[in-house]
């Protein structure tokens, strides 16, 4: 006999590990009254692979491929953050051309990460065509990066001390053509998505994040810039060769999903500007520091190096005790903080809005679980 439980009003649902809108294996435990959510609790750990435990058994070079598998969408920024932290520990100085190559490839990787987010996010909202356009652009971009780094997704291209592979002319002409082509595509995305009335109705005034919440939850990246705080580590804590380029930090005003979308799309245009300026001012000279020790054995000490990835601030905190293996590496990942605000944003919103909010946070699950 089916017993009707009259007193229990909320219905518990698993927006579980295998769900198209969770971009990986994130599980959100929803308690709902009809369509409205009363409590949402993200359960993470389904993608936990133990990067930090591995770091204690590997020397500094062996851990490099791991950094690319933490956030595989913007792997080069994680390579850069880790390599700069190690360079600070050992005291290596990367030559000018090496820094420029790092900036060019990292910005290209940022565009490929934003393009994938744009496609996947609109797929969550139900639009199928944009992901085909985005992946088409992304494939062109991956061809460029594939030429010099050798891989399409999990790059292991930077080394402590510089870059092992130099740019060739075909890469430079290819990149210039790609920049020109992508600029024309932005107009298509604008007409196809930004002015789409369904998209605007689904994203306007939904998932609003105030600036106090940004401080309390430690959010970084497009989530913070969407709420009007111009916090971008490339500007606020300039590293590598970024001071030599002029680019703008796009910010939203209300902090709803539409603002975060606009911030990410504008960021792609700024990245194109950076790439063009970097290609124009590309100095020649060595790409690797002269005497990079064969076995990296930094002195005792600790370092915290922050880098701006597509999702926010990636901080690499290394504690070294003079051994060839790091004593402890803590990877401060942006999506961990960005996702911790979901329970507060999700209270009495619709389930469809929760999917939109989750997509606007741009979550990469193995990055949260590390």
């Amino acid at each position: 006999m089916i017993e009707y439980s009259l007193e229990e009003k909320t219905y518990t649902l698993n927006l579980g590990p295998q769900h198209p809108s969770t971009h990986g294996v994130l599980r959100v435990l929803l308690e709902m009254e009809g369509e409205f959510i009363t409590k949402a609790e993200p359960v993470i750990g389904y993608g936990h692979r133990g990067h930090e435990h591995m770091a204690e058994n590997r020397n500094y070079l062996q851990f490099l491929p791991n950094t690319a598998r933490v956030d595989y969408l913007h792997a080069l920024a994680y390579n850069q953050g880790y390599c700069m932290a190690v360079e600070k520990l050992i005291g290596l100085v990367v030559p000018e051309r090496g820094e420029f190559i790092r900036v060019i490839t990292a910005e290209l990787n940022r565009i490929s990460s934003h393009l994938l987010w744009l496609g996947a996010y609109l797929l969550d909202l139900g639009a199928f065509t944009p992901i085909l356009y985005c992946f088409d652009d992304r494939e062109n971009l991956l061809d460029l990066l594939d030429r010099i780094t050798g891989s399409r997704l999990t790059y292991c291209f930077f080394r402590p001390g510089g870059v092992p592979q130099d740019l060739d002319d075909e890469f430079i002409t290819g990149t210039r053509a790609f920049v020109k082509r992508l600029r024309t595509r932005f107009k298509d995305y604008d007409n196809l998505v930004t002015k789409n009335v369904i998209f605007i109705n689904r994203t306007k005034d939904v998932g609003v994040i105030t600036q106090e919440q940004c401080v309390k939850y430690g959010l970084t990246g497009p989530m913070v810039r969407g709420s009007g705080i111009p916090y971008d580590i490339r500007k606020s804590e300039p590293y590598s060769a970024y001071p030599q380029f002029d680019f703008v930090i796009p910010i939203g005003d209300k902090g709803d999903i539409l603002d975060r979308y606009v911030v990410r799309v504008r960021e792609m245009e700024q990245s194109l500007r950076i790439i063009e300026q970097a290609l124009d001012k590309l100095p020649n000279g060595p790409i690797m520091a002269e005497k990079v020790p064969k076995r990296l054995k930094p002195a005792e000490g600790e370092v915290y190096q922050a880098v701006e990835t597509a999702r926010g601030e990636f901080g690499c905190y290394i504690v070294s005790q003079g051994d060839i293996k790091p004593y402890r590496i803590k990877l401060r990942v942006p999506s961990f903080g960005n996702l911790s605000i979901l329970p507060e944003l999700a209270v009495d919103t619709l389930v469809a809005d929760l999917v939109a909010i989750l997509g606007s946070i741009d979550v990469v699950v193995p990055e949260i679980d590390r």
């Binding site: 058994n57 062996q62 932290a85 402890r328 911790s340």
Partner: protein, 147 residues
């Protein structure tokens, strides 16, 4: 300058505040605080508008060292707060001041086994619920070299 305001804010707690060597360690201010002062420090940092960038623990074999990193949106000033914990595995929580610290503390509890008093729901975050070990402790197999 933000760095001076933070020093004034931390002055009443009479902790040892040192100017971090930014080029070497990436932090402008290095603070050492005992465990029970940490809520005072966090409240002072929040009043200055700093956010909690990262919270982690380092197992120094015979004692723990909790490391808090604070940063600020408007002005560049990275503060690192070291909290030597000795061998006892307990700390007051920060989740009342920084709701973002809730998950960080659950992760440190999960991987190190350090309890945080007053935490709303201190249970495992990354490992499965029935796991009975703390992987990032030094005596959990990190010692043998396997390369």
């Amino acid at each position: 300058m933000l760095i001076d305001k933070i020093k004034q804010a931390l002055a009443p707690l009479n902790l040892e505040v040192a100017d971090g060597d930014y080029a070497k360690t990436g932090c402008h201010l290095a603070v050492a605080a005992p465990p029970d002062q940490i809520q005072g420090v966090a409240q002072a940092m929040l009043d200055e508008g700093c956010f909690l960038a990262s919270l982690t623990a380092v197992d120094l074999r015979e004692s723990f060292d909790l490391v808090y990193h604070f940063a600020n949106f408007s002005e560049l000033c990275r503060t690192v707060v070291h909290v030597p914990l000795g061998k006892k595995k307990g700390m007051p929580t920060l989740s009342a001041i920084y709701p973002g610290a809730d998950w960080y503390e659950r992760e440190v509890f999960d991987l190190f086994g350090i309890h945080f008093f007053g935490h709303p729901n201190l249970k495992r975050l990354l490992l499965p619920e029935d796991a009975d070990f703390h992987p990032l402790l030094k005596d959990f197999g990190a010692s043998e070299s396997n390369d």
